[in-house]
């Protein structure tokens, strides 16, 4: 019924038309700016291999936010492979690098299966401004397109107009939003789950306020949200998602670790990949604290969300 979401990693080797659309758009959108970049990875794949060449490749990876450690590791392995396969021309190395990156990232592909429970409860967490509320709006649309009934929980009771923002997304999607005049995040979400049970709703998407891992009291607060959700339904939450902005540099690793420690994350959503940032930190995350990536955000409109595909992601990273 929901093949779009349930694609197995293998099927992803031939990207769905939507993904191709994204990649083409991504490429054409980026062309202008990318051409200006001093270090285009693809431009590197000419000439004969030497240390200088590997240095440049390392720099190109760093520029994509892959991070020093991961970039150095990748280069080290690439050198070994190049030797093994007696590669001498840079052009021959591109497929090698590509497959290395795909090997690194494809374990992060995972299907999304909201049929596992009813209501299927997702909590969205993340630092301020990462794109949590917008991702909920977009995911609600996806789910509706696939004939799931959806309820949104306005769990950001802190930021000015956060509730109004989610309510506006609810209107766009024609999906109900549970809000409370007063009351904390946990209470609103608890309410929403009860309402979903009563109304036979398939999926509950719960928003929370942005928080930085350094704000320990807020990290405690969101742990409580999770505990209270389990009181409403012992099997819930079924997904705890960290929303990560693709613009984020090395701090993304800290974010994944801190939110995972607090909440035991089940997956990530990487947003704002329609910009010039390439989200290379995902490669570092894959190495240091791997978490499945359920979706990527490629814009601010209802349909600007795609399942994560390691192939497309790597192509965008090194094209």
């Amino acid at each position: 019924m929901f093949s779009f979401f349930k694609k197995s990693p293998k099927e992803n080797t031939s990207p769905a038309p939507t993904q191709e659309g994204w990649l083409t758009r991504l490429k054409s959108g980026l062309k202008k700016t990318r051409d200006n970049l001093q270090n285009k990875v693809s431009g590197l794949f000419t000439g004969r291999l030497n240390d200088e060449w590997f240095n440049e490749l390392e720099e190109a990876l760093i520029l994509a936010d892959v991070g020093v450690k991961t970039a150095q590791l990748l280069i080290k392995n690439l050198k070994i492979k190049a030797k093994e396969e007696r590669v001498e021309e840079a052009a021959e190395l591109k497929p090698l690098l590509r497959s290395m990156l795909i090997d690194l990232l494809s374990p992060l592909e995972r299907s999304f299966d909201p049929d596992r429970a009813k209501p299927f409860v997702l909590v969205f967490a993340g630092v301020n401004g990462a794109g949590k509320t917008t991702s909920i709006g977009k995911l609600a649309q996806h789910l509706k397109n696939h004939h799931y009934s959806v309820l949104l929980a306005a769990g950001d009771t802190f930021r000015a107009a956060a509730v109004a923002q989610l309510v506006a997304w609810g209107e766009r999607n024609q999906v109900d939003v549970i809000t409370q005049e007063k009351g904390d995040s946990a209470a609103v979400i608890f309410d929403a789950i009860q309402a979903a049970k009563a109304r036979q709703i398939d999926v509950v998407l719960a928003d929370t306020a942005g928080r930085l891992p350094t704000q320990l009291h807020l990290m405690e607060e969101i742990k409580k949200v999770k505990r209270v959700i389990a009181k409403a339904d012992p099997s819930a939450p079924h997904e705890v998602i960290l929303v990560l902005d693709a613009n984020t540099g090395q701090n993304a690793i800290t974010q994944v670790k801190a939110f995972d420690e607090a909440l035991q994350l089940t997956g990530l959503i990487i947003t704002k990949l329609d910009g010039t940032a390439r989200g290379g930190v995902v490669a570092a995350i894959a190495g240091e604290c791997p978490k499945p990536i359920l979706f990527i955000g490629v814009g601010e409109q209802l349909d600007d969300m795609q399942p994560f595909s390691a192939n497309s992601f790597v192509d965008a990273l090194i094209e």
Partner: protein
Amino acid sequence: MLDQLTERLSGVIKTLRGQARLTESNIQDALREVRIALLEADVALPVVKRFVEEVKTKALGQSVITSLTPGQAFIGVVHEELTKLMGEKSEGLSLLAQPPAVVLMAGLQGSGKTTSSGKLAKWLKEQEKKKVLLVSCDVYRPAAIEQLKILAGSLQVDFLDSSANESPVAIAEKALDYARRHFFDVLIVDTAGRLAIDEAMMTEIKALHQALNPIETLFVVDAMQGQDAVNTAKAFGDTLPLTGVIVTKLDGDARGGVALSVKEVTQKPIKFVGTGEKLTGLEVFHPDRIASRILGMGDVLSLIEDAQRHVDQAEAEKLANKIKKGLDFDLEDFKSQLIQMKKAGGLSAMMDKLPAQLTKNIPQQGGVDDKAMNRVEGIINSMTQQERRFPGIIKASRKKRIAAGAGVSVQEVNRLLNQFEQMQKMMKMMSRSGLTKMMRGMKGMIPGLRG
């Protein structure tokens, strides 16, 4: 915590010890560590490369003062160069224009433009006694206008309503006209987040700039941003005559290398930094502090300044003396410390500013919850003087009595005693490796650093 430059360098510096001067060959390793540390702090690569070259030239030319080891001299050069690159201490906003002086906000999605608009309005109203008008030209993001309206309401600053049906330029013109007719000193114009490669949106903000002729055009950037910051900043800078930068979310643990990248690319001063979601979370920019932060040396200076601003001088001195003499830090001190900390913006605010070398040894779990501070005070209040002086004597029966008195569980009393012990350790650590000693050390090491 990420590796810190000082930590990274300590190994390298040992090898520099005993060498009379810095040479091309003996600083290679040190330079490589600087490069890695800056990249890990998300300073953009082209900026890092230029910086490392600069440091190299400077370090080689340096005749090492006898009192400094070459290693210290090297760190000194790095910090000094970084501080220099970060620019001048912020002078705040320049509002020397025929009123209304217009401030235009621009930046990527979610960088903090709307929140910073509110913060600036508060700052201008309270510090500069200006009559401020806020308006939002964000007709795209759901409830963006509403968000600014609520912020304005909470500040009791005037807000000109707009609606998603209007064009951003029409809103801007309307607001400018309104501000003129009602004699506002300053008009702050919030705009929608936009990608630098979105041509239509970049054209729009250019048109907004033309319509408003702002005296300040501020680029708002998220401290967590990575390498792409140079591309974004360059594109915004090419489209708009930027006058300054605001770096937001510095209350997090991102090292904020983006500050350096953006400063380098735009050549515009960083005017403010955002240090919290609340509207009080705005500080003027101090180049030396951000330099220390990027290098991982901790924001010791702001800590001290914060403490001076909020803390009772006599109390602080009493405590400092105790620490210096290595006297036992007791629960009475702990309590007065708590009260001081509350004044200084809470424990976590202070912890953020301490160097990682100190805080990494303090278990974070449950240790620094601001809300818990009140309860802690309650618990200490239910103790006798003797118990406060000699917490060692607090055994089961006393714990029960104290818990009952404060209306908390015995576990909570236990937790406090544990926390206290940790605090005591930290204090001992400070007196040993010491905040004061560290400051003295840094003064010696780093030219131009205030003590």
